[in-house]
C-alpha cells in the first residue's frame, strides 16, 4: 500500500515537471551553428548573454564551418560560426537563394610553435614545421640544428587547436603516428620544457619563459602579429549573419564583440580583437 502511494507521488511529480517544461515562455530564439573552433566562444558568450537577457534564448550547435554556412543559407540557423572566410562557391549559392551573408570577425586564433630553451633553432618555415609533423623530417640536423631525433608533441586529434594546426600548417596531412598526443596546451608546454629535442604547438596564451616560441616564415607570434594577420599560423574566426544583424541577433553579436565578450574570447585561449 505504502509503495503504491510512493509510486503515485513520483508519477505525479514527473508529470508536473513535464508540463512545466512544455510551457516555458516563448522567448525570442537565436540559433548558432558551425565551427567547432568557435564553439567554446559561442557557448560561453551565449551562457553569459542569456543570464543577462532572459527574453532571448540562444542555442548553439557544432558541426563544422561548412555545415554552419549551409544552414545559414537554408535559413535553419541565424548565425553561422566559421573558422574560415566563405568560399566563392558559397557566395554563389547565397546569391541563388537571395541571401546576403555578412561576416563579423569575433576573435583571432593564433598558434605558436615551441621548442626547448636549449634548442639553438630560433626560426622555421611553415613548410619545415609541416615536414616535421608529418614525418618527412625527423632529425633536427635537417633544419639546421644539432643531430638528434625530433620528439614531436601534438594535441589530441579531437581538439580544436589540433584542427586549426591541421588546417593552417598540415593542410589536411596526417600527423606522424608516433607523435606524443597530449590532452592540453599545458601538457605540451611542460613536455617541451623538459625535452631538449621536443617540438610542440600551443595557443598564444601558453607561451612562457620555460619554452621558446619560434619565428615562422620570419614572423614572431604575438598578439600584434596575430591581430594583423602577419603571423602565418593565425586566422580570424567569423560569425556570419544573413544581412546586417538586427534585433536579438544584433544584440548578441554586439555582446560578443563588446568588452565582455572579448574578455571571454581571451579566457578561452583566443586573441581578443582589442
Amino acid at each position: 500500500m505504502k509503495k503504491l502511494r510512493l509510486l503515485r507521488a513520483a508519477v505525479s511529480a514527473a508529470a508536473c515537471l513535464l508540463v512545466a517544461a512544455g510551457t516555458v515562455s516563448a522567448a525570442e530564439k537565436v540559433v548558432l551553428e558551425g565551427s567547432t573552433t568557435v564553439l567554446p566562444i559561442a557557448q560561453k558568450t551565449a551562457e553569459v548573454f542569456m543570464d543577462k537577457n532572459s527574453d532571448i534564448d540562444i542555442s548553439v550547435r557544432g558541426g563544422g564551418s561548412g555545415v554552419g554556412i549551409a544552414s545559414l543559407l537554408d535559413g535553419s540557423c541565424d548565425i553561422a560560426d566559421s573558422s574560415r572566410a566563405m568560399k566563392d562557391t558559397e557566395y554563389e549559392k547565397a546569391a541563388a537563394k537571395k541571401k546576403d551573408p555578412k561576416p563579423c570577425v569575433v576573435a583571432m586564433d593564433g598558434i605558436a610553435i615551441v621548442v626547448n630553451n636549449s634548442n639553438n633553432i630560433a626560426a622555421l618555415t611553415k613548410k619545415q614545421v609541416k615536414d616535421i609533423y608529418t614525418g618527412a623530417i625527423s632529425d633536427w640536423s635537417a633544419v639546421g640544428g644539432p643531430a638528434g631525433k625530433i620528439v614531436v608533441v601534438s594535441r589530441d586529434s579531437s581538439s580544436g587547436t589540433y584542427e586549426a594546426f591541421g588546417e593552417l600548417v598540415l593542410k589536411g596531412a596526417k600527423v606522424r603516428p608516433d607523435a606524443l598526443m597530449q590532452a592540453s596546451n599545458q601538457a605540451i608546454a611542460s613536455i617541451v620544457a623538459k625535452t631538449p629535442s621536443g617540438i610542440g604547438y600551443v595557443g598564444l596564451g601558453y607561451i612562457t619563459d620555460s619554452v621558446k616560441a619560434l619565428e615562422i616564415d620570419g614572423v614572431m607570434p604575438d598578439k600584434g602579429t596575430v591581430l594583423s594577420g602577419k603571423y602565418p599560423v593565425s586566422r580570424p574566426l567569423f560569425m556570419y549573419t544573413n544581412g546586417s544583424p538586427k534585433g536579438a541577433v544584433k544584440k548578441y553579436i554586439d555582446f560578443v564583440t563588446g568588452p565582455e565578450g572579448q574578455r571571454i574570447v581571451d579566457e578561452e585561449g583566443f586573441v581578443a580583437l582589442k
Binding site: 586529434s157 579531437s158 603516428p177 608516433d178 598526443m181 590532452a183 625535452t195
Partner: protein, 294 residues
C-alpha cells in the same frame, strides 16, 4: 509500529544491496548500445586489428590494435614491477617481520594504496620521466617503460595486501607440521606456505593486473600518447583508457568517433571482467582446498 519500522529497514537495505547490480547492468547496456554502432561502419576485425587510429580525419581510420598493444605492454611491464615487490613484501610482512616492523610497514603499504592516481601521474610526468630520459639517453621519458614503472608501484599495495591475506590464511598447523619433519624456514616457505597460499597469491596478481589495465590518469600523463605499434619499451604508447579519457570530451555525440570510444570501453570492460572472474574462480578453489585440509 516496531514491525513496520523493521520492514522498512529491510526494504531500504535490500534496495541498497541491489543498487550496485542495477548500476552494473545499466553500464553494460549503455556500453553495448553506444559501442555497437561502430561495427556497422567498420568491420570488427578491422577495428580490433587495424593499425592506424585517425578517428577525426576524412576518411577516418578506427584501428585500435596499437591501443590494445599499448595496454597489454604497459600492464605486462607493471606486473614485472608489482609482482616481485608486492609478493616479496607480503612474504616479508607475514613470515619474517617482527611485530614492531609489521606495525609500521603494513600501514605504509596501505597509505601507498590511498594516494590518488593523478598524484602518481604527476610524479611520473615531472620526476620519473625526466630522470629516465637523462639516465637512459632516450628522446623522451614519456613512454611505455615509465608508465609501467609508475603503474607497477601503484599496483604494488593491491598485490601486497591480498597476498598477505592469503599467506595469513595458511593454518599454523601447516608450518608446524613442516618444522616437525625437519624442514628449515626456507624449505617451509617455498615448499609448504607458498603452494598453500598459491591461489590466493594468483588472485592478488590478477587483481593487480586488472588495476593496471584499467588505470587511466597515470597512463594519460606518463605513457606519451602516441597511437603507434610500439617497437621497444621506450616508445611512447597510447593505452585504451587514455584514448577514451583524452578524446571523449571532444568527440561529437553520436558520431562514429564517439561510438568507437564506447566500443573501446566495452573491450576494456570485457578484459577486466575476465580478469575478475578468473580471480574469483581461483580464490574459490583456494577456500575449498584449505577447508579440506585445515
Amino acid at each position: 509500529m516496531a514491525r513496520i519500522k523493521e520492514k522498512a529497514y529491510e526494504w531500504v537495505f535490500t534496495a541498497l544491496a541491489f543498487s550496485s547490480l542495477i548500476f552494473l547492468v545499466g553500464i553494460v547496456i549503455v556500453l553495448f548500445k553506444e559501442g555497437f554502432p561502430i561495427f556497422k561502419a567498420v568491420k570488427a576485425g578491422d577495428f580490433l586489428f587495424g593499425r592506424f587510429w585517425y578517428p577525426t580525419y576524412e576518411p577516418p581510420e578506427f584501428g585500435i590494435f596499437p591501443l590494445i598493444l599499448a595496454s597489454f605492454w604497459v600492464t605486462l611491464g607493471a606486473l614485472l614491477v608489482c609482482v616481485p615487490l608486492g609478493v616479496g613484501s607480503a612474504l616479508y610482512l607475514n613470515e619474517m617481520a617482527s611485530f614492531r616492523q609489521r606495525s609500521v610497514l603494513k600501514p605504509m603499504v596501505e597509505i601507498l594504496a590511498s594516494i590518488p592516481s593523478v598524484v602518481y601521474g604527476f610524479f611520473g610526468m615531472m620526476i620519473v620521466a625526466p630522470v629516465l630520459q637523462d639516465l637512459l639517453h632516450i628522446p623522451t621519458g614519456l613512454c611505455a617503460f615509465s608508465a609501467s614503472l609508475v603503474l607497477g608501484i601503484m599496483a604494488t599495495p593491491t598485490v601486497c595486501s591480498i597476498a598477505e591475506d592469503a599467506l595469513s590464511y595458511v593454518p599454523k598447523s601447516f608450518r608446524e607440521a613442516s618444522f616437525a619433519v625437519g624442514a628449515n624456514r626456507w624449505q617451509t616457505l617455498t615448499k609448504v606456505v607458498i603452494p598453500a597460499a598459491g591461489s590466493g597469491i594468483s588472485t592478488a596478481i590478477i587483481l593487480g593486473m586488472s588495476r593496471a589495465v584499467g588505470e587511466t590518469m597515470t597512463v594519460l600523463m606518463v605513457a606519451g600518447g602516441s597511437a603507434v605499434i610500439p617497437k621497444s619499451i621506450f616508445d611512447p604508447v597510447r593505452p585504451m583508457t587514455s584514448a577514451i579519457a583524452a578524446e571523449m570530451g571532444e568527440a561529437p555525440m553520436g558520431s562514429m568517433h564517439y561510438h568507437s570510444l564506447f566500443a573501446i570501453a566495452l573491450i576494456l570492460f570485457l578484459i577486466t571482467f575476465a580478469f575478475n572472474i578468473a580471480a574469483e574462480i581461483i580464490s574459490r578453489r583456494f577456500r575449498i582446498k584449505l577447508g579440506h585440509s585445515g
